[in-house]
């Protein structure tokens, strides 16, 4: 079974995380990184545009950072309480098929939400993960030479009011939700940790990998962050 190194990086400013994952992907393409990596983190509030974005989908541009990036998809919001995952995977070892990858990412999150007792599903034609007809996770990916970056954003305790700034993913009338809102009888204090655990288990099951919290990787990430970012904690 192949191993997925997990780096839990905490709160990382968007441009730093972008540079970091691009670096990891280049390293993976060049073979300097021998194993796949899953970056798990949060961003300070930010709006990002994918390659398929329309500027009109940003409704309230005031007072928030905006980035245009190379992932697929339309506009989205990131902010504290949202579990962002950037899998740096060499799809050559799985399937050279981006639709397979999108569906498997969705499956990982559906498994994760099932562990939290939240029934989740796909909405055919609208990439992402949905529960009770509301959208709980967004997905947008990028691949070069079959190595992926960008990934998913799962609302855990996200302040959902931020999504009013945008037309999420360009889908008119979409209602966003979060793990916290959908939990019927969960303990709210532990929801973040439980969500992270569930996502890791979901990845193990959907991708058939085993998750490792590599010290080596953590050290690299620390040196990267001190070199490239000013951690705001």
């Amino acid at each position: 079974m192949s191993v997925l190194d997990v780096i839990q990086a905490g709160l990382v400013p968007y441009p730093d995380a972008l540079a970091w994952q691009r670096q990891l992907a280049e390293d993976r393409i060049a073979g300097r990184l021998s194993r796949d990596v899953l970056l798990l983190l949060e961003h300070p509030p930010v709006v990002t545009f994918g390659r398929n974005s329309q500027v009109s989908h940003l409704l309230q541009p005031d007072g928030i950072d905006v980035f245009e990036v190379e992932r697929g998809g339309d506009v989205t919001f990131h902010g504290p309480g949202q579990l962002v995952g950037y899998p740096i995977l060499d799809l050559g070892a799985y399937k050279k098929d981006l639709h397979w990858y999108l569906r498997t990412l969705e499956q990982a999150l559906i498994y994760a939400l099932a562990l939290l007792d939240i029934p989740a599903e796909r909405n055919p034609g609208f990439t992402g993960v949905w529960t009770r007809r509301r959208k709980i996770a967004s997905i947008g990916i990028h691949v070069k030479q079959w190595v992926t970056w960008h990934g998913f954003a799962l609302n855990v305790t996200t302040d959902l009011a931020h999504f009013d700034r945008i037309v999420p993913c360009g889908i008119q009338g979409v209602q966003m939700t979060s793990v916290e809102r959908e939990l019927r009888n969960g303990k709210r204090e532990t929801v973040w940790r439980e969500s992270v655990d569930a996502v890791l288990q979901g990845f193990e099951r959907a991708f058939g990998v085993s998750v490792s919290h590599s010290k080596e990787c953590a050290r690299q990430s620390l040196s990267f962050r001190t070199a490239h970012a000013e951690p705001r904690l």
């Binding site: 398929n52 992932r71 981006l98 639709h99 099932a114 947008g140 030479q145």
Partner: protein, 432 residues
């Protein structure tokens, strides 16, 4: 000799990709491995990478255009080198497809960049609809369209293609009436509801069917009548002689290899296969709709020290008896040791409860919501059975199905049980 850069497939079913951005421009030097452009499909962006060194001589399509997979989007070569497309801007000569199949619907096609003024004229301004030859036995269709047509039971020959060169593409198939829609009403007995069809193998795990007025009324009235889930029970007696023989033969075949087949494994397999044929019983009741599952996940009630739990054998209809046996033993073992993960005991679409090993002749099981049914298996007992003028001894099994009346009606459950009975009485039927 200049090298072509083709639109690449991001997945095996992809027919065309939207070139969203050129990251290199005409005249730029490129090395093998450099990113030339970005291609998007759905929520995925892929980098189109140079496979040769030299200069990006010519860009054939502007940003924002949708290009069929395999078409030439650019040329790489030595500075000053002539490329095929230089004269007429022709697409790959081997292909009849045009270079550009059309821009996004919501925007007019952007003008080609001025640096490549001749890239676009190869596209007919208004392609006339192709005339299909009357005796066409070979139909031009994309691989995706062929697959969709096969799944939907649509005859490609009857579809007018709207793709390049009259090719039948995905949207043509989707717009075509399906064969089953045309013949369904004639072919089906009136009493069998539409949901009793075999589960379609389309890759879609289930279909949500809104409650009709009559179903809503049935749900309300029956629930008011007996508790939150209005159960009713159907019992049938099954002749197990041939299943006993089949099991003995299979286990002899397996020999010392281990992993013996149990009756429970045979029953789970038969239930799963019968559910594929009777989707009406493979369903969840969900407040305002019924979820009819196209996948079959069998919950298997396992007694544990102070209660019971139902680990799930997923896609049991697609597993063979050895796989079901191995999986159910493994799951039951971990269930008793309380080592099951939540996703291993949730998500069943139907359940089986077996008390045969406790010498229970017959019993009724309580439905595990939101599932709509469960079968209760008694022990296999030798009985004297009239056979014409004689009395013969046969091994028999009494099986009782509990049905949620909000989802399953008496006749619906009975038809399912009939199929299940046939499969167990003639295990070879499972091979059909």
């Amino acid at each position: 000799m200049a090298t072509k850069v083709h639109m690449e497939a991001l997945s095996p079913t992809m027919e065309e990709g939207r070139l969203v951005k050129w990251t290199k421009h005409e005249g730029d030097p490129v090395k093998s491995g450099d990113t030339l452009a970005e291609v998007e499909t759905d929520k995925a962006v892929m980098e189109l990478v140079a496979r040769a060194d030299g200069q990006l001589l010519k860009v054939m399509v502007p940003e924002g255009t949708t290009v069929p997979v395999g078409n030439v989007v650019a040329w790489i070569g030595k500075p000053g080198e002539k490329v095929d497309g230089d004269g007429a801007g022709a697409p790959a000569p081997k292909s009849q497809r045009s270079a550009v199949s059309g821009a996004r619907e919501d925007k007019p096609a952007p003008a080609p960049p001025s640096a490549s003024p001749r890239a676009a004229p190869s596209i007919p301004a208004n392609p006339s609809p192709p005339i299909a030859p009357a005796d066409a036995t070979r139909v031009k269709a994309s691989p995706l369209a062929k697959r969709l047509a096969k799944d939907a039971g649509v005859d490609l020959k009857l579809i007018q293609g709207s793709g390049p060169g009259g090719r039948v593409i995905k949207r043509d198939v989707e717009a075509a009436p399906t064969a089953s829609a045309a013949t369904a009403s004639a072919a089906q007995a009136p009493a069998v509801p539409r949901t009793a069809d075999r589960a379609p193998r389309t890759g879609v795990p289930y279909e949500d069917v809104p409650l009709t007025q009559i179903r809503k009324t049935i749900a309300k009235r029956l629930a008011a009548s007996i508790g939150p889930i209005p159960h009713f029970f159907l019992t049938t007696e099954i002749d197990m002689e041939r299943a006993v023989e089949a099991r003995e033969a299979l286990n002899q075949q397996l020999g010392e290899a281990g992993g013996k087949i149990s009756f429970n494994d045979i029953i789970i397999k038969a239930v799963a296969l019968a559910l594929v044929q009777h989707r009406a019983c493979n369903a969840w009741f969900q407040d305002d709709h019924i979820r009819y599952w196209n996948e079959v996940h069998i919950g298997m009630a396992v007694a544990i020290e102070d209660g019971l739990i139902t680990p799930v054998i997923r896609n049991a209809d697609q597993k063979n008896l050895r796989e079901i046996g191995a999986e159910s033993r493994e799951l039951a073992g971990r269930a008793r040791n309380r080592r099951l993960k939540p996703d291993e005991y949730t998500g069943a679409t139907f359940s089986v409860s077996n008390l045969g090993m406790f010498d229970i002749d017959q019993f009724t099981a309580v439905i595990n919501p939101p599932e709509a049914g469960i079968v209760a298996i008694g022990s296999i007992v030798a009985k004297a059975i009239p056979d014409g003028d004689r009395v013969v001894v046969r091994r028999r099994l009494r099986l009782t199905m509990s049905c949620d009346h909000r989802v399953i009606d008496g006749a619906t459950g009975a038809v399912f049980l009939k199929t299940l009975k046939q499969m167990l009485e003639n295990p070879l039927a499972m091979l059909l």
